[in-house]
């Protein structure tokens, strides 16, 4: 149940209040992930949550370019992210990913910070951010740290929104890579079952590309596979599927065989589709 609602005006105040109400404090951003959770049978009177609303903190808003990195405030909604000129310019795959989450109603409230802090390994923004080598700035009572999204699972992911706050998401801009993105869901408006990114970075005159594959989903923390792809491997649907099957197999093996046969199958197919999109743009 929701025992209290507290609106905070600054990051420090937010951290202070979180600390005061441990272990019941939860950061409330858009609420699209958190509020349904408070209504399930588990969250009855026995879990007196204290919701700490951070939406009015100015420093957590907005999107800017700073020192070659796209800096996104965690209070940015999915709609804002999808429609941002800066994002469309410097990290269009993020816009694509954000624009496919849920419904317009969900996107008008759900935030970047909320997505990252959702405790769902298949959260839509995790794979694209991991793929682009993004970092999150996290502030806790003990201090501030900058953590690569790829490493979040082992480094503070569980504490996000409970004992720490995301204060900024930083995306390095790399114009050399072209990303293709595919999202596969079992339901017509459902959580992602697989998020797949395929990045191509043309190298040298031999028309080979550096190929980066990222797969994420429920039970599958986003993992990366990289290799040099020869032109022959990118020359058509079949070789691309072949390449992506190899990539997916490595990713799933590294994940300890997570997800099962069907998730792997979707993973390799979605990856191949993402690769086709990227290859199409690169003009291979």
């Amino acid at each position: 149940m929701i025992a209290q609602y507290i609106r905070v005006g600054s990051i420090d105040e937010g951290l202070k209040v979180l600390e005061e109400h441990r272990p019941w404090g939860r950061v409330l951003a858009g609420g699209t992930d958190l509020l349904p959770k408070t209504r399930t049978a588990r969250h009855k009177r026995s879990l007196p949550l204290v919701l700490i609303d951070i939406k009015r903190i100015d420093e957590l808003k907005g999107i800017q370019m700073k020192e070659g990195r796209l800096c996104i405030g965690p209070s940015t909604t999915m709609s804002q992210l999808a429609g941002s000129e800066l994002v469309l310019e410097y990290a269009p795959v993020l816009s694509l990913a954000a624009g496919q989450v849920g419904s317009p109603e969900i996107r008008n409230r759900g935030t970047v910070g909320g997505n990252l802090g959702s405790k769902n390994t298949g959260a839509d923004l995790l794979a694209p951010l991991a793929a682009m080598g993004a970092l999150v700035e996290v502030r806790a009572p003990g201090g501030t740290s900058e953590i690569p999204v790829r490493d979040l699972l082992a480094a503070g992911w569980q504490g996000l929104g409970r004992s720490s706050l995301i204060t900024e998401v930083r995306v390095p801009v790399n114009r050399q890579v072209t990303w293709g993105y595919r999202r596969w869901s079992r339901e017509s408006m459902g959580r992602a079952y697989i998020t797949a990114l395929a990045g191509l970075e043309p190298r040298g005159d031999d028309r080979s590309c550096r190929f980066t594959a990222v797969l994420g989903g429920p039970g599958l923390w986003p993992r990366t596979f990289e290799c040099q792809a020869r032109p022959g491997e990118l020359s058509g649907q079949e070789p691309m599927l072949e390449l992506c099957s190899r990539a997916a197999a490595e990713i799933f093996a590294a994940a300890g065989g997570a997800g099962g046969d069907y998730q792997f199958q979707i993973g390799r197919v979605a990856l191949a589709e993402a690769l086709e999109l990227a290859a199409g743009e690169v003009g291979q």
Binding site: T40, K44, R186, E187, S188, M189, G190, Y262, Q265
Partner: protein
């Protein structure tokens, strides 16, 4: 406009002075003995006005719809029978307090071995769900027609398969809700979204141990029903609380509760063995059905009967042997859902027909046309098909879908494969099978001094537009504008105690009664007009609100004027017409043989589905649907097509998407996020063809439509998938995982 502007009040929108909020405490166990219930803390909580358990006072055993096995009690007394079973109810000043009170109730359970698979439950030695009975099989049936051995002996091809259909949740947008209040004199009023206020009144009176005349049901607008809003315990529990608290009580299911403790579609396992002669004639059919009743019978016995014999009348087949078993399990009780057993059995029957067609080398449409029932047929079950547009439905859907070219197109070897499939079905227009009282309808129409008519009929509008149709029929006979006709919501204090809307009966039976009432009212108006105009009553006609003499059209008065004169002559009484319609030549089935003409009109349908199967992911995309429905006569094409579109959407969900996911008796998918119902982008283009076979019994020839529109969709899709990639999925829903697994298996052979 009231609906779209948000002005129409649904049950959950009602507010009354002193109204309390009720909640249900539900069992967390599938099967357990209740050792004790401690409500002391709950009762002491500030704001709680009533707490009731099954242990407080004796609650009678009852059943719905006169079903002979009295297996239900309003609240559990000795045992709970499924996860979600009602154990206690509380009423409090606000919903939060009521929720808190629930948490303060301590129930001591002793878990018992539970049974979830009907096949297991049928075995001797299985845990008994209802110990008062001998077994877990409260109903079984068996019948034979013709000579089945001879039929199989004559068959060139015999196919046998087992099919399985799952629970399906109704998914009405409005969760179950009820408002109850008692007057000082011990009379109950229920404001409920209820498909049959009359049946509810009977059942609830019995469940409460009071007289039917003490129960008044006021039907509220329904936010979708589809069969799921017939008798429902929440209604009576609300009444119990209102009586105990002495104040009106409102109860509304959470969506999660509604998933857990609604009355989803009866799952069935169906084995069919079908023999077909060399010339394509259906020779013999042996069927065994195991129907999963869940914890209580509810309407499942009627649904099982429906699944057992209705489809046998679709094609001409003489030699039949069928056995069916209704089995208790410790799962959510199952009940009525659009189609009433037909979607389940037609999935099996229409799938196996295609298997037979393939073996014989016959086109599936050809096989069906060869065997189609025809108008005038008298079937082995005793059905009299006065009208039958099945052949037309098949031909027109085949034509409208490009069937010939697509069936003969070479199979694709690429990632995406296309296929086209056909399935047919039939239904009833009201039926006499298991409700002993009557089948038919009654209506009366009052006309006021302004010439406006009000129609009272016992058949309810579920949102499908019955009130519009009734208004149209009445207006047509009265010669007035439909805008001048209001159809009253059902109130058992005022309306005829009709059976209500289910079994596809509203248009045919309710419509006929309205038509007769309107004709009667018109006659009375003519009587008055004849006197006024000095004309012969037989000479009068009415059009656009004006009654005139056909011989001398200048002699005229308006309907309003005639009605006003009537009002004066009746000393304030309004001109009222009565109509009673009893379908002719309709009978109960023989209790043993199940033989009997159960309905006065049978609608038929054929649907063609075109699909694209993704061999890499198993995902099936529906490219096109053509649906041809023999509805006798189209009274309102907009409404009729609306029913087809909505039904096909539900059929697509049933076929490909919807899975409640029960594990160890628990419904896993208890929200719209995980229970995947079709959304706006899931609907394919749909060409709806309305075939008019002009039934002699229907009003203007009209038969039912809304239910059969769902039935052919799943088998048409299954057949299309088979055509596309050669895999036959025998278990719904046909998920991408199943298709992919089947494709892999096929490739390995």
């Amino acid at each position: 406009m009231d609906k779209v502007s948000g002005k129409l009040a649904f049950t959950a929108d009602l507010k009354m002075a002193g109204m309390l909020h009720g909640r249900v405490l539900r069992s967390p166990h599938a099967h357990a003995r209740i050792l004790g219930i401690d409500c002391s803390k709950a009762r002491k909580l500030t704001g709680v006005r009533a707490v009731i358990t099954g242990l407080d006072s004796p609650l009678p055993h009852y059943s719905v719809a006169g079903q002979p096995v009295l297996d239900e009690q309003l609240l559990a007394t000795e045992k709970v029978h499924y996860i979600g079973d009602e154990v206690a109810v509380v009423a409090a000043v606000d919903p939060d307090t009521a929720a808190e009170a629930l948490e303060l109730i301590r129930v001591e359970y002793e878990e018992l071995p539970a049974v979830f698979d009907p096949r297991q439950a049928m075995l001797p030695g299985a845990p008994l769900v209802h110990p008062g009975q001998e077994s877990n099989i409260p109903h079984r049936l068996e019948f034979r027609r013709g000579d089945i051995e001879k039929g199989f002996a004559e068959s060139a091809v015999i196919v046998e398969e087992t099919f399985e259909t799952p629970l399906q949740y109704h998914g009405y947008l409005e969760p179950h809700a009820a408002v109850a209040g008692w007057d000082a004199g011990d009379r109950l009023t229920l404001w409920i979204p209820m498909q049959s206020p009359t049946l509810g009144r009977m059942t609830y009176a019995r469940a409460l141990g009071i007289g039917e005349d003490q129960v008044r049901i006021i039907q509220m607008p329904m936010g979708g029903a589809f069969g799921g809003k017939l008798e429902y315990r929440l209604h009576v529990l609300c009444a119990l609380l209102a009586r105990a608290a002495g104040q009106p009580v409102k109860m509304v299911n959470s969506r999660e509760e509604d998933f857990q403790a609604g009355l989803p579609r009866v799952p069935m396992q169906m084995r069919i063995r079908l023999g077909v002669r060399r010339d394509g004639a259906l020779a013999a059919k042996e069927t065994e059905i195991i129907a999963d009743s869940g914890a209580y019978v509810n309407y499942a016995h009627g649904i099982m009967l429906s699944a057992s014999h209705r489809h046998d009348n679709l094609y001409r087949i003489q030699n039949i042997h069928t056995r069916a078993f209704l089995v208790y399990t410790n799962k959510v009780p199952t009940g009525c859902f659009r189609g009433f057993g037909n979607p389940q059995i037609h999935f099996a029957y229409e799938s196996i027909l295609d298997l037979a067609a393939a073996k014989l080398g016959l086109d599936p449409a050809e096989l069906r046309l060869l065997n189609s029932s025809q108008p005038g047929d008298f079937t082995p079950h005793g059905w009299k098909l006065h009208s039958c547009g099945l052949s037309d439905c098949i031909r027109q859907s085949v034509e409208g879908s490009g069937w010939k070219e697509k069936r003969s197109a070479p199979p694709s070897s690429g990632r995406f494969a296309r296929g086209i499939g056909l399935a047919c079905c039939l239904h009833v227009s009201g039926n006499r099978t298991f409700l002993p009282f009557f089948d038919g309808a009654s209506s009366f129409i009052r006309i006021n001094g302004q010439g406006k008519a009000t129609v009272f009929v016992g058949e309810t509008d579920l949102g499908q537009g019955a009130r519009t149709t009734f208004a149209q029929i009445a207006a047509h006979e009265l010669g007035v504008d439909p805008k001048d006709v209001t159809v009253s919501y059902v109130d058992t204090e005022i309306s005829p105690h009709g059976l209500g809307t289910f079994g596809d009966r509203a248009t045919t039976l309710g419509g006929n009664a309205v038509r007769l009432a309107a004709i009667d009212a018109r006659q009375k108006l003519f009587e008055i007009a004849a006197g006024e105009l000095g004309a012969d009553q037989g000479d009068l006609d009415v059009s656009e609100g004006v009654i005139f003499s056909q011989a001398d059209p200048k002699k005229s008065i308006t309907v309003a004027q005639a009605a006003k004169l009537g009002w004066a002559r009746l000393a304030g009484g309004l001109v009222t017409g009565h109509g009673v319609y009893t379908p002719p030549d309709v009978s109960m089935v023989d209790p043993k043989t199940k033989y009997g003409n159960i309905s006065c009109a049978y609608p038929f349908a054929a649907q063609v589905a075109e699909v694209e199967v993704d061999r890499l992911t198993g995902r099936v995309r529906i490219i096109n649907m053509v649906a041809a429905h023999d509805l006798g006569k189209t009274i309102n094409p907009l409404l009729a097509e609306g029913q087809v579109q909505g039904a096909v959407a539900q059929g697509i969900g049933y076929a490909l998407m919807e899975d409640m996911g029960v594990r160890d008796g628990r419904v896993i998918n208890r929200s719209f996020g995980s229970y995947n119902m079709p959304r706006i982008m899931d609907m394919p283009p749909l060409n709806s063809i309305l075939v008019e076979s002009d039934d002699p019994n229907g009003p203007y020839g009209a038969k039912g439509l809304a239910e059969p529109a769902l039935t052919p969709t799943a088998p048409a899709i299954a057949n299309a998938i088979y055509h596309a990639v050669g895999v036959r999925i025998k278990e719904l829903p046909i998920t991408p995982e199943k298709v992919l697994a089947a494709l892999r298996e096929k490739d390995q052979i």
